[in-house]
Symmetry: C2
Subunit: 527 residues, 2 copies
C-alpha cells in the first residue's frame, strides 16, 4: 500500500534532520580517512560510470537514516508504481511513461487501447526506417538530391534535451564514422533565431523536424511559418522538407504539410522526451538509428539500477537523498552542475529545465500547500571554463552551493598534446580532482583574503568516455534523481502549471486586451 | 575624505533595513497605481536604453533611504576615486582602469611612467591599423591569401566577454555590411574543444589571437601549443598566423612566435577587459575597427551616466542599490538575467563571471571577515527559451529569485513573419511584458496548483535595438552596477584569490605530488 505523505510528516525524516551538521567535511576529508572515503563512498552506475559522494557532508550514520527515510517514503515503490502505469501525474491526470521509451521495467501498460511499450518501439522503428532511407538517398529533396542537414524546430523539452544530446555526441560520431547529417536547432520566437539558422544552412538540402506534442506551441508554430516562408521564397515545397513529431491527436498528426509524422503521447513530458521521438528523429537522422539505440540502451540500464532498494546500490536514489538533505536540512538553495567535458556544454541547460521545471513547486501532489522548500536552482558551465568564471564565489562567497562534477578518463576526438609533462586530458582531469579537494578541505591562510574555509560539498560522476551508452546512462540518472526527489517532497514532478499565466497574459497583450501595468509595458515595448 | 566602512556599520543602511517588506508588489502593481509605477519608475540610460524598476519591491520612501545610504557610503565618490587612479584593488595593490579604455572620466592617470588613457588609445589605434591591413589583404598568410577567420584562444575574461559580444553583434554586422571575418573561440583545456574548432575551420586562412595578460595561463598556453601543433601538421608557419594580446611585461610580449602583440596591463581585470585589446583585437578583426569604436562609445556614455549622484538619474547605481536591498534585507540569494534577444544568448554567461567573480567574497577590502552576505548567484538564458525551461520554479518555486529582463523593440536581422495578427518580434516582446506582470501580480486560483502568488520582483532594460552602441552601454551598465555593489559591501571586486587553491592543487596532481583524498581521486581519474 503506497502512502503519499508530506516530507515533514515522516518520522524517519526527523531522524535525518537530527543529523544536521554532524559531518564536518574539511575534517573527514583530511588524511587517511579522506582517502578511505574516496575509495568507499562510490556507487557503480550503469555503463561503467561511478557516482562518488566522498566529498558530500554524509557519513555512515547519516546514510542509515537516509536509507530509513527512503524506505518509509517508499521511494522505490513509488517508482514501481510509476513504471507499472499508475496515474503519477496527478495535476494533469496522466501516466508517466518516459522510461518505457527505452525498456519494459514492470508490467505491460495499456493506455489509449494499445500496449505502450509496443507503441514506443514501433515509432522508434518507423523513425529508424525513415532515417535509413534519408541516409541511403531513398528519400531526397525534389531535385533528387540527398539531405545534408537536419533542423529541429521546437522549444523547451523539444529543444534543450535533444540539442544537449546532439552536442554531446557530435564529435564522438565524427570520430566513429557514424556522423550522417549536421543538426541545427531553432527554438526562440525571436525572429533572429530562425533567420540566423536559415542563413547558416543550405535550405535546399535541409530536412526540418517540427516538434510539438500538442501541435499548438506558439513559438514552434510561429517558427514553422517562418521556415515555410523562407522555403517558399527559395522556390521549395515545404511539405517535401518537413516531418513532424507530435501526438496522434494533434492537428499536425495527419497533415499533408509533412513528409510523415512520428508519434509520442501525453505520458511523456517534454523535459523527459529526449529518449522518445522528440530526441529520436533528430538524433537518428544526425548519427544513425544504431547510435540512438545505443543511447537508449544506456538509459535502460540506468533505469534498471534505479529500481534497487539498497541506497548504496542505487546511485540516482542516493544522489536524490543527499540532495534533499542538503536542501531541506542544510538549507542550501542551489546546485551547480560542472561537467569537465566540452561535449557536455549544454547538458547543464538541459538539467536546468529537467530539475527546475519538475521540482520548482509549492504544492504537494494533491494541490495542498507545503511547508518546506522543494527543487533547487540549478546552473552550470563546463569546467575548466567555469573555474575562470564563477568558481570564485563558490570557493569564497557567503553562501554554500553544492556541486555536481562529471569527468571522463578519455576525451572523444583523441587528438591531444603533451605540454610540460602532461596531456590536455590529464590537465583537465587534474583540475576536477583538485577542485573537489579544494572545495571540501579548503586551506587556512593568515591572510584572510587567501583563506579557504572548505566545507563545500560536491560529488563526481566518473566514466571512461562520453559515448552513446554513457550519455544515455547519465541522462537517465538525472531523470531518476529528479523523480525520486519529487517523491520525497510529495510533489508532482510531471506538470508545469507555472508556465500558464505568462502565456495567457502574452495572448492578451497580442490581442491588445490589457489594462494597468501590462498596458504600459506593452506601450514601452512598442507592441 | 573617503571612508571605507562595512555595510552593517552605516546608520543609513539600518534605515534601509527598517523598510523590509514595506512594499507588497502584487498590491502596488495592480490597477492604475501599477500603470503609474511603470510610467514613473524608469531611468534613462545611455544610448536610448531605459531601466524600468516598477516591478521591484521599492517605493518613494525606500528610494529616499537608498539615496541616503548611497550618500553615506559615498558610492559615487568611490567611483571618482577609482577613475582618478586611486589604488582600489587592495588585494593586488593595483589601480582599476578598465573605464579608461573607453574614455577619460576624471584626471589624467599616470602609471608605469605613461599616461594610461594615451596608452590604451594607442593600442586601440594599433589594433585598428592591423585589422584594416588584414581586411585589405595587406597582411596575408604565407601564400598571399586573405585571412577569413579569426580564432580567439583565451579563457575566463579572455573568452566569455569577447564571445558574448561577438555573438551579440554577429547578425547585426552581417545585415549592416560590416561583417569582415567569422570568429571562433577556444577556451577549455579539454582537448576536444580545440580539436573541434580546428576541425570546423580552414586553418590556412585563420588568424589566431592568443590572449593572456600574464602570459602564463595554463589552459591558454596549452591550447596555443595544441593549435601550433595542428598548424605545423598542416605545413603552416604558426608565427605567421598568430598575434598576442598580453601585458608588456609578459613572456609573450616580445616573442617572435607572433606576427605582433597588442598590450593591456594589470589595471584591467579579465572580466572587465571586453573594451580593452582583449575584446578589441577579435572584435575589430571580425567587424572592423569602426564597429568596435562605436561599442566603446556606448560604454563611455554609460560610464558618464554612472558619475551622477542622483540615484534616479544613475541607473547603474540604482540597480546596484536595489540589488543590495534584495540581497541583504530581503534575503534573496540569486539573480536571473533574462534577455529577450537571441543575440544575447551568452551575455548571461559573461555576467555570471563579471558578477560572481567580482563580488563572491567573504572578506572586506582590508581582508577582514564580514558579517553579511555579498554577491548573488547569477544565471540566465534567453527568453522565450527560459520560459519553457526553468520559469516554472521562478513562478511557483519555494524561493524568490529577482529577475533582470532585457528587451528590444526591434530585432537585428529584420526578417519576420506575421502569424495570427502579430509578428514574431511582437510575440517576443508580448512575452516579456506578460512575464513581468505575471511574476509581480500573480493570479489567485482556488486550485492551488494553478495559483500564482506573485510578489516576484523584476526590472527590465528596454532599448530600440541591440547594436554596437547599445551593447557597449549594456556592458558598462553591468560593470558599473557590480562595482557599486562591491563598494556598498566594502569588498574588493577586482581580485579573485578564490581561484588560486584549485590551480595549486592541480599542479600538484600533475606533478604526482599528492596524498590522501586527492591522490585517490587522481587514481580514479587515471591521471
Amino acid at each position: 500500500m503506497i502512502k503519499w505523505n508530506n516530507l515533514d510528516t515522516l518520522e524517519t525524516f526527523k531522524a535525518v534532520e537530527a543529523c544536521k551538521g554532524s559531518v564536518k567535511l574539511a575534517e573527514v576529508m583530511a588524511g587517511e580517512n579522506g582517502a578511505n572515503r574516496v575509495k568507499n563512498y562510490s556507487v557503480p552506475m550503469a555503463e561503467g560510470l561511478n557516482y562518488n559522494y566522498a566529498a558530500k557532508e554524509v557519513d555512515d550514520a547519516l546514510l542509515e537514516k537516509l536509507a530509513a527515510f527512503a524506505e518509509e517514503a517508499q521511494l522505490v515503490e513509488k517508482f514501481e508504481e510509476l513504471y507499472n502505469g499508475a496515474m503519477i501525474n496527478t495535476g494533469e491526470q496522466r501516466l508517466v511513461l518516459h522510461q518505457m521509451t527505452r525498456g519494459q521495467l514492470g508490467n505491460p501498460v495499456e493506455a489509449d487501447g494499445v500496449d505502450k511499450r509496443t507503441f514506443y518501439v514501433n515509432e522508434q522503428n518507423r523513425i529508424a526506417e525513415f532515417a535509413k532511407k534519408v541516409h541511403a538517398g531513398e528519400i531526397t529533396n525534389a531535385a533528387g538530391e540527398k539531405f545534408t542537414t537536419v533542423v529541429q524546430i521546437g522549444i523547451g523539452g523539444s529543444d534543450l534535451g535533444p540539442r544537449a544530446m546532439y552536442l554531446a555526441l557530435e564529435n564522438w560520431a565524427k570520430v566513429n564514422n557514424t556522423f550522417k547529417m549536421e543538426a541545427k536547432f531553432i527554438s526562440n520566437v525571436d525572429p533572429d533565431d530562425a533567420a540566423a539558422v536559415l542563413n547558416s544552412i543550405d535550405v535546399a538540402h535541409s530536412m526540418f523536424v517540427l516538434v510539438s506534442k500538442s501541435g499548438t506551441t506558439l513559438e514552434t508554430l510561429t517558427n514553422e511559418a517562418f521556415v515555410k516562408d523562407a522555403l517558399k521564397k527559395a522556390g521549395l515545397d515545404a511539405s517535401k522538407h518537413m516531418i513532424a513529431v507530435t501526438s496522434e491527436t494533434s492537428p499536425l498528426a495527419k497533415s499533408d504539410d509533412y513528409l510523415t509524422a512520428f508519434f509520442m503521447d501525453d505520458y511523456i513530458g517534454g523535459r523527459f522526451s529526449s529518449t522518445s521521438g522528440v530526441g529520436g528523429a533528430v538524433l537518428s537522422l544526425a548519427f544513425g538509428p544504431d547510435v540512438f539505440a545505443r543511447f537508449l540502451d544506456g538509459a535502460a540500464v540506468a533505469d534498471k539500477t534505479a529500481t534497487i532498494k539498497d541506497i548504496k546500490k542505487n546511485p540516482a536514489l542516493l544522489d536524490a537523498l543527499i540532495g534533499v538533505y542538503e536542501r531541506n536540512v542544510l538549507g542550501y538553495q542551489a546546485t551547480a552542475v560542472l561537467p569537465y567535458s566540452q561535449a557536455l556544454s549544454r547538458f547543464p541547460a538541459h538539467l536546468q529545465q529537467l530539475d527546475m521545471e519538475s521540482n520548482g513547486k509549492s504544492v504537494n501532489r494533491f494541490g495542498d500547500p507545503i511547508n518546506y522548500v522543494t527543487g533547487p536552482l540549478l546552473f552550470g558551465e563546463p569546467g575548466t571554463n567555469g573555474q575562470h568564471s564563477f568558481y570564485q564565489l563558490l570557493h569564497q562567497g557567503t553562501n554554500i552551493v553544492p556541486l555536481q562534477f562529471i569527468g571522463f578518463k578519455n576525451n572523444q576526438i583523441g587528438t591531444d598534446v603533451n605540454i610540460k609533462g602532461s596531456t590536455s586530458q590529464q590537465k583537465l582531469d587534474a583540475n576536477v580532482a583538485a577542485q573537489i579537494v579544494a572545495f571540501a578541505c579548503g586551506k587556512a591562510d593568515d591572510n584572510k583574503n587567501k583563506n579557504f574555509e572548505g566545507g563545500r560539498p560536491s560529488s563526481i560522476i566518473i566514466g571512461e568516455q562520453l559515448n552513446p551508452e554513457t550519455l544515455g546512462a547519465l541522462l537517465a540518472h538525472f531523470e531518476n534523481k529528479v523523480m525520486f526527489q519529487g517523491f520525497a517532497w510529495n510533489i508532482n514532478s510531471f506538470d508545469q502549471e507555472g508556465v500558464q499565466l505568462g502565456k495567457k497574459l502574452a495572448t492578451q497583450v497580442l490581442a491588445h486586451e490589457t489594462e494597468g501595468a501590462l498596458s504600459v509595458y506593452s506601450e514601452l515595448l512598442n507592441i
